[in-house]
């Protein structure tokens, strides 16, 4: 159970990190793409 707990807690942080990156990437990519289209 102690190994499970270690994986659970590490995984908890990892999952929120991935969700954060996905969300920010999606939001910022939109603006960055707009700018690049604007430049073209």
């Amino acid at each position: 159970m102690e190994y499970f707990l270690s994986a659970f807690l590490g995984g908890w942080m990892l999952i929120f990190g991935v969700i954060f990156m996905f969300a920010m990437n999606r939001e910022y990519a939109h603006y960055l793409d707009d700018r690049e289209e604007g430049k073209k």
């Binding site: 707990l5 270690s6 995984g11 942080m13 990892l14 920010m24």
Partner: protein, 532 residues
């Protein structure tokens, strides 16, 4: 007076002087309430961590860790830290866009309704008042063990040390002193862990002794913790940990003493980055300090009272300089939380409940209100009614239950209305408050699924959904929500966007690092010790 007491008094005078210097720069209500909305990442990060970690952590949680509840508490605190990126990215930056002075004012602007501002303002005042009583109690108890004065004299010293600079300097002073205090107690933890583990014969010997040695508590390092402490089975304790991990994650995401820090940020990139750095900072401090408190049991299994375990460690297991650093760090943690709570109470009384709009009057009345509230808190603390202890137990689940659904719904659910928000907040508050009052006054232990937090959140979600579906979103409410999603031009800097996006890597790396730390320094040595 001993060397520890002298150094603590000097540190208090230093905070007082810094607060006074900053106080002279306050020109208007904007400076006083939100530090001119110009704070950089370091100050927001410092204030987020310092206002979250207080005497409850260094006395209460450390005491429970020493009594064998280390792993369940570690589970709660690690789960809670995920609230920082969640809160900053999904709530904090939208709150900042509203340009409100307080979080209750944000709700008022978002739902075009003064009634919800008053309700939220009252909840802030009640919860922060209760929290301050708890912090004052912790600070005076701590100082009475170090400084050779009566507890009531210590109470007045602790009160004076944060009241004057908070009243004078407002948020600017609180941000600066919080950050200095964050630095002091983080340094203290980094120094104290090697000292304490050395006293336990080294980290791995300490883990071995706690796992199989005669330390007076059984199941010291199992995932369910000491079974004589709360619930009688490991799975029930684990369920409790996960429940309170979620409660504290919500508290970290949306509570007024955390999310109001984002109102002071220079820009949205500062909001998101400081949330990420605070997540890593709290995680490191919490993990190290909880393990350190448990290891003190190897050196001395009979510390009394158990909540003073870190004070005993500072005075008996560490070199004098390191002990001084730890004790001033613990006092700093208490004072930084108290100053944040006091400023929030003062702001809410004037801005949300009295609704003083005149800028010059607002600044003056805020200071008078803050001083009045602070004197009131001192008087109540001096009398110390027997209800104080259980009152402090109520706060965290109330704020999570009453604000959680409404805060996230205000940004992410376009169908939410002012009626839904009002009823969600009110029912969540009453549900958590009444059930918690019942359990504490009768000594009843309810199943985890009926914990006050869960009852409050069920009622809050019902209030939000039913209240919203029985009414219509007005054009003004729709306009306010649409405005939240307009990204300000100054935020669209390509380099800054990339930097902010990349902070996500820090959290992914933290998750991997945490797993490796737990396996190498806890799970592997623990199972080796148990299997002989």
């Amino acid at each position: 007076m001993n060397i520890y007491a002298t150094c603590i008094i000097i540190s208090l005078i230093l905070y007082f002087v810094i607060g006074n210097v900053v106080g002279r720069k306050v020109k208007d209500a904007n400076d006083y309430y939100v530090a001119g909305r110009n704070a950089p990442t370091i100050l927001i990060t410092g204030s987020l961590v310092a206002s979250f970690l207080g005497t409850g952590m260094f006395l209460g949680d450390c005491g429970e860790s020493y009594m064998g509840f280390v792993i369940p508490l570690l589970t709660v605190s690690i789960m809670a830290t995920a609230g920082y990126p969640l809160g900053s990215a999904l709530f904090g930056r939208f709150v900042r866009r509203s340009e409100a002075l307080t979080i209750p004012e944000y709700f008022s602007k978002r739902f075009c309704d003064k009634k919800i501002q008053k309700l939220a303002g009252v909840i802030v005042v009640v919860i922060c008042f209760i929290y301050m009583l708890s912090v004052m109690d912790g600070l005076s108890t701590l100082m009475a063990q170090i400084i050779p004065f009566d507890r009531k004299v210590c109470l007045v010293i602790a009160w004076a040390s944060f009241t004057f600079f908070t009243v004078l300097a407002g948020s600017g002073g609180v941000l600066l002193t919080d950050t200095i205090m964050f630095g002091v107690f983080t340094a203290a933890i980094i120094v104290c862990v090697p000292c304490i583990s050395q006293a336990a014969g080294g980290w791995f010997n300490g883990i071995n002794a706690l796992a199989v040695g005669d330390v007076g508590v059984s199941n010291m390092l199992t995932f369910g913790g000491n079974l004589d402490w709360m619930y009688d089975t490991p799975m029930k304790n684990f369920a409790w940990s996960v429940t309170y991990g979620i409660v504290w994650m919500l508290v970290v995401s949306i509570s007024p003493w955390q999310s109001s820090r984002y109102l002071m940020a220079k820009n949205e990139h500062v909001v998101i980055r400081s949330g990420m750095f605070a997540c890593v900072g709290v995680l490191v401090v919490n993990t190290l300090v909880l393990f350190a408190a448990a290891m003190v049991r190897v050196a001395n299994p009979g510390v009394e009272p158990y909540s003073a375990v870190m004070v005993w460690a500072a005075m008996n297991l560490m070199p004098i300089a390191a002990g001084i650093l730890l004790l001033t760090g613990i006092v700093a943690a208490g004072i930084s939380s108290a100053s944040t709570f006091l400023s929030l109470v003062g702001f809410s009384v004037v801005n949300d409940i009295m609704e003083v709009k005149d800028a010059k009057r607002s600044l003056k009345i805020s200071r008078i209100a803050m001083l009045t509230v602070s004197v009131l808190i001192l008087l109540v603390s001096l009398v110390k009614p027997p209800m104080v202890w259980w009152m402090t137990q109520i706060s965290s689940s109330i704020v999570a239950a009453s604000w959680g659904a409404v805060a996230f719904g205000s940004v992410w659910w376009k169908r939410i209305t002012k009626q839904g928000a009002f009823w969600g907040m009110l029912l969540g508050f009453l549900g958590a408050f009444c059930v918690r009052t019942y359990t504490l006054s009768t000594g009843t232990t309810l199943p985890v699924a009926l914990d006050p937090f869960w009852v409050g959140i069920y009622l809050s979600v019902i209030g939000v959904v039913v209240g919203s579906l029985r009414s219509q979103v007005t054009p003004e409410e729709k306009l306010q929500r649409d405005k939240l999603f307009v990204v300000p031009e100054e935020e669209k800097d390509r380099v800054e966007m990339k930097k902010t996006r990349n902070t996500g890597y820090a959290m992914v790396a933290t998750g991997i690092g945490l797993f490796l730390f737990m396996v190498i320094f806890y799970a592997y040595p623990y199972t080796q010790a148990v299997q002989g």
